[in-house]
Amino acid sequence: MRATLSLALRMLLRDWRSGELRLLVAALVIAVASVTSVGFFTDRVGQALVRDAHQLLGADLVLVSDYPWPAAIADEIPRRGLEPAAAVNFISMVQATRGGEEKTQLAGVKAVTANYPLRGRLRIAPGLHAPDAPAGSGPARGTVWLDERLSSALGVRPGDRVRLGRSEFTFAAVLTLEPERSANFFNLAPRLTMHADDMAATGLVQVGSRIRYYLYAAGAREQVSAFEAWVRSRLQRGQRVDNLESGRPEVRAAIERAQRFLGLAALLAAVLAGVAIALGTRRFVERHLEGCAVMRCVGATQRRLLTLYSAEFLVLGIVGCAGGSVLGFAVQGVIAYWLVDLIRAPLPLPTALPALQGFLTGLVLLLGFALPPLLQLKNVPAIRVIRREAGTLRPPTLLAYAGGFGAFAGLLLWQAGDLRLGSTVVAGFAIAACAFVGVAWLLLRALTATRLVRGFSGRSPMLRYGLANLRRHARANAVQVASLALGLTALLLLTVTRGDLVDAWRRAAPPDAPNRFVLNIQGDQLEAVRAFFAQRRIVVPDVYPMVRGRLIAVNGRNVSDGDYAEERAKRLVEREFNLSYMAQVPQHNVISAGRWFSGGAHGEAEISVEEGIARTLGFRLGDALTYSVGGETFTARVTSLRRLRWDSMKVNFFVIAPPWVLERFPTSFICALRVAPEQEGLMNELAAQFPNLTIVDVAAAVRQAQSIIDQLIVAVQFVFLFALGAGLLVLYAALVSTEDERRREAALMRVIGASRAQVTGSQRIEFLAMGLIAGLLATAAAAAIGEVVASRAFDLDLPVSLWLWLAGPVAGMALLSFNAWISARKVLGASPARVLRDSI
C-alpha cells in the first residue's frame, strides 16, 4: 500500500511536471475556492448571529407592535415579577446648525426607557473614534446619543445641540454599539437614541407616522415562558413576540436568502469547473493511453493501474481542495471587507466546516467528472503497443457521468435549501447545456452542408477544407462550442448585460423626476405648507392624502401571513398599507383592468389596486377587501387594476379609494417635488418651520442604496469571477482537447505540400466559424437572462443591446482566432516529420 502510494505520488509529480495536470488543478482550485469563500463568509455571519443572540434582543422577550401596547399587556410584565422596559422606533429628520450652516439628516430614532437594555449593554464613546465603554443606562433626559454616521452627516460633535421635531437636545455621546445589533446588519438609516420621556415634547408622534412600539421583559426563565404563553394568546394583527429562538426572523431570512444566492452562484462556478475537469481528464487519458499500454506490457495489472491512477487523482484532489480552501479563505476576507458597511458587527473567525464542504464538493467533482474517463485507462489493451489502432478511446457514455451529475445535483439542491429553487437551477443548467450542444450541432451541420462546402470548392480549397473539418468533427465540435458558449455567457453577463441593466435603470428615472418626498404633513398644516412653496415661487406640488390601514379580510375571509407562501406576500399582509383617496386617476397611472370609480357616494365602496400587488396577493376584480384603520374597518370591492411606474419617482399608492370611503379616517399628506441644487437651503427652512415633516432626499437615498448595491455587486462579482474563471478553463480545455489531432492533420497537410498560409488559413476558418456560433449562442443566452432579470427583478424593459449582439460574436471569434494563432504557431513550430513520428 505504501509502495503504491509512493509510486502514485511520483507519477503525480511527473505528470505535474509535464503540465498534464495544471488544468485539472486549476479547475479544482476554482471550484473549491468558489464554494468555500461563500461558505466561510456565511459561516462567520451565522456565528456572529448566534454569538449575539443573548443580547440580540436586548431582553429575554420582546413584544413588537405597529400601535401602542394596551396597558393591560404593559402592566402585566411587572405584575408577574418581570423587569419591564419600553422603546419606540421611528424615522425622522434630525437637524443641527454648525458654523451658521443648517444641516438635516434622516435618522432612525429610538426612544428608550432609562433601564434599556435589559440584556446586553449599550456602548458609548466621548468623541468620534474615541475608545468606547459600556453605558450604565440609556441617555439622560434632554440628551441624545448619535452613532458615528449620523454625527458625521450632521457635522456635530458631543456637546453640540441637535433638533428633533419641536425639541432641542444635547448630543451627549457617540453610540458605538447597541443590542438588537442584528437589526443593524442590513440597516440603512443612522441611529439616534433618546429618552422615552422626551418623546411627547417632540410632537413627532402624529397621524400617519410609521412607529414601532416595543415592550421588553426579562426575568426567571419559567416566568418569562409563562408570560410569553399568556401574551401570545392575546396578540392582535400587527403585534408579535420575539424570543431568543425566533429573534428577528426577517433579518435571518434576509441573510439566508443572500447566502443561498451566493451559494448557488458558487456552485454554478463549480459545475463549470466540473465540465473543465471532465474535458481535462479526457485529454489526460488520451495522452496516457500509450503509457498505460506500455505499463500493461511490462506487467501492470488492470487493478494496479486503477489503484495507481485513483491514488494519483486522490492526492491531486486533496492538494487541489486544500489550495482551493486557502484561496477561498482569502477571498471571504475580501467579501467581508467589501460588505463592512453592510454588516456592522465584528465577525468571528470561520470554523473548519466550510473547508470540509469545499473538500466534499471538490471530491464529488473529481469523482463524478474525472472517474468515468479515467476508468477507461485500465481497459487499454497491451496489444496497443504493437497495433496503435487497438483500444482507441471511446467517449464515456452519459450513463458513466450520471453518478457525478446525480451527486452534483444533490449538492445544488442542498445548497439551495429549497427543492423548487434547487431543481429550477439544476434543470436550468442542464437544459441550457443540452440546448447549447444541440443548437451548436445543428448550426455546424447547417453551416457545413455538403452543397455549401462544394460551392466554395472552386474558390478556396482551404475554406472547403476548414468547413469540411467542422462537419467531420460535428459532435466533438458541438461540445466545444457549447463549453465555449457557457464561458462566454458568464463573461457577457458580467460585463455588457450588467452595464445595460444599470443604464436602463438610470434611464427609467426622467431628469426632471422629483427628488424630494415630504411625508407626515398634517391636515391642519396643509395650507401653511402650500403657502410656504407659493411664497418661494416653487410650483406647488400635488399633495396626496395617506391613510394607514391593514388588510384583514378578503371576501369576508380573514387573512394572515400564513395564507401565503411567497415571502413578499407574507410581508405585505403583515404590515400596514399606505392607502390613498382621490376622485381622478393619477396621471402617471394606467388602468389595466376594470374601470375607474364611477358611482357616487351612495353606491358600494370601490377601490383600485396596483396590478403587481394584486397578482402577489391573488386579488381579482370584484373581490371585497376589508381593511382595518385605527381600530375601525371598511370593506370595498376591487373595481380596477392599475399599472404604474415605480421608477418614475412620483408618489404612488398600491391601493386608492374614492374620497368618501376614506376621508373620515385619520389622514396625513405626502407630496413629491423637484428641488434644484441652489434650492437646498429651502428644504432646511421647511424642516425648521415644520419640524414634524419627514423630508426624504430621494437622490441621497438612491445614492445610498446604489452604494450598498455597488458593494453587493463587488462581493457577488468575486463569486462570479470564479464562474468566469471556470468558464475560461472550460474554454481552454475544450480547445486543447483537439489540439493533438489538429497538429497531426496540419503536419500531414504540410507533408503533402500545403503552405504555412494554407495550413493556418484552413484552421482559422474552422475556428472562426466555431467562435461565431459560440458567440451567438452566448449572446442569446445573456440577452435572455438579462431580459428575465430586468422584467422580474427590476420591472424594467431592457432594450435590445446592439453592443451585446456585436460584442458576443466578436468576442467568440477573437478568442478562437487567438487560439488559432497560438495553435498555428505550435503546429508550424515543430517539423512535420517530428509531429508525425511522435504521433505514430
Binding site: L7, R14, R17, T301
Partner: protein
C-alpha cells in the same frame, strides 16, 4: 519452474489467429508450431503482412489466439487471464518496439525505472542508473525522449527491457525507425546485452541482413511457417 537447455522456454502449438473484417474471416496466422530453448536467439522474418508482429503479440500474451497454445516458461497463456498474463510479463518478458514506446513525460531514467517501480523494487533508481550507463547514456539520465536522438531513444528502450533481467526479450523491428548507422549500433548493443544476461531473444524483422546475424530463423509467409 526451472529452465534448462532441455526444456523449451517458449512452446507454440497449432497457433491460429483469425480476424473478422466485414463478412470475411481473415487468417492472419495458421497452424504455427515451434519451440524456443533458453538462451536461443531467433529471428522471425517475413514480408510486411506476413503475420510476424501478430505472432509476437501472441507470444507475449498481449493478444489471444483463435486457437492453439503458447506456453511461456511452463505457463500456459491460455489458462491465464489478462492480468495473469500481465504479471507473467512483468517478471519474465522484456520488450523493444519499433517506435520505442518511451513515455514522453518521463526522463530517460524514469522510463527505465518504471517497470521496476511497478514491481515494487526499492532499488529502482540505482538499478536504472546502472543499466543506462551500461547502454552508454550515463550522461543523458535526465533528458526527455524528445531531446534524444532515435538511436538514443532505442538505447533507453533496451535499458528498460533489460533492467528487469527478463528471461525472454521480444523485439519488434527494433531498427525499423532508425538509420543504418544507429540501427547497427543498437543491434550490436542488443546482442551484447543478450549475451551478458543470457536472455532468450526473439526478434521480429523483415531485414534479411539482421535476421542472418541470428543463429536461427523462423520465416513466415501469408501466416504460415515456411522455414524454421
Amino acid at each position: 519452474m526451472s529452465t534448462d537447455a532441455g526444456t523449451p522456454i517458449v512452446r507454440v502449438s497449432a497457433l491460429t489467429k483469425q480476424v473478422r473484417t466485414g463478412d470475411i474471416d481473415l487468417n492472419i496466422l495458421s497452424d504455427i508450431s515451434f519451440v524456443v530453448h533458453p538462451g536461443e536467439v531467433v529471428a522471425i522474418i517475413g514480408a510486411s503482412g506476413s503475420g510476424k508482429s501478430t505472432l509476437l503479440g501472441l507470444l507475449a500474451g498481449l493478444d489471444t489466439p483463435t486457437s492453439g497454445r503458447v506456453v511461456l516458461d511452463g505457463h500456459d497463456l491460455s489458462q491465464l487471464d489478462e492480468d495473469g498474463r500481465a504479471e507473467l510479463r512483468g517478471h519474465m518478458v522484456g520488450f523493444v518496439f519499433q517506435s520505442f514506446q518511451l513515455l514522453p513525460a518521463l526522463t530517460a531514467l524514469e522510463n527505465v525505472m518504471l517497470p521496476l517501480e511497478l514491481s515494487g523494487r526499492v532499488d529502482a533508481e540505482e538499478a536504472a542508473r546502472g543499466m543506462l550507463s551500461k547502454v552508454g547514456l550515463a550522461q543523458r539520465l535526465l533528458h526527455y525522449p524528445k531531446h534524444l536522438s532515435g538511436g538514443e531513444q532505442q538505447r533507453v528502450a533496451l535499458a528498460r527491457a533489460f533492467v528487469v533481467r527478463p528471461k525472454v526479450l521480444l523485439a519488434d523491428e527494433p531498427t525499423g525507425s532508425l538509420d543504418a548507422g544507429s540501427g547497427a549500433g543498437v543491434i550490436d548493443l542488443m546482442f551484447e546485452l543478450n549475451r551478458d544476461f543470457g536472455t532468450t531473444l526473439i526478434l521480429v524483422t523483415h531485414d534479411e541482413n539482421l535476421a542472418r546475424r541470428c543463429p536461427r530463423m523462423v520465416r513466415l509467409a501469408a501466416g504460415r511457417i515456411v522455414e524454421s
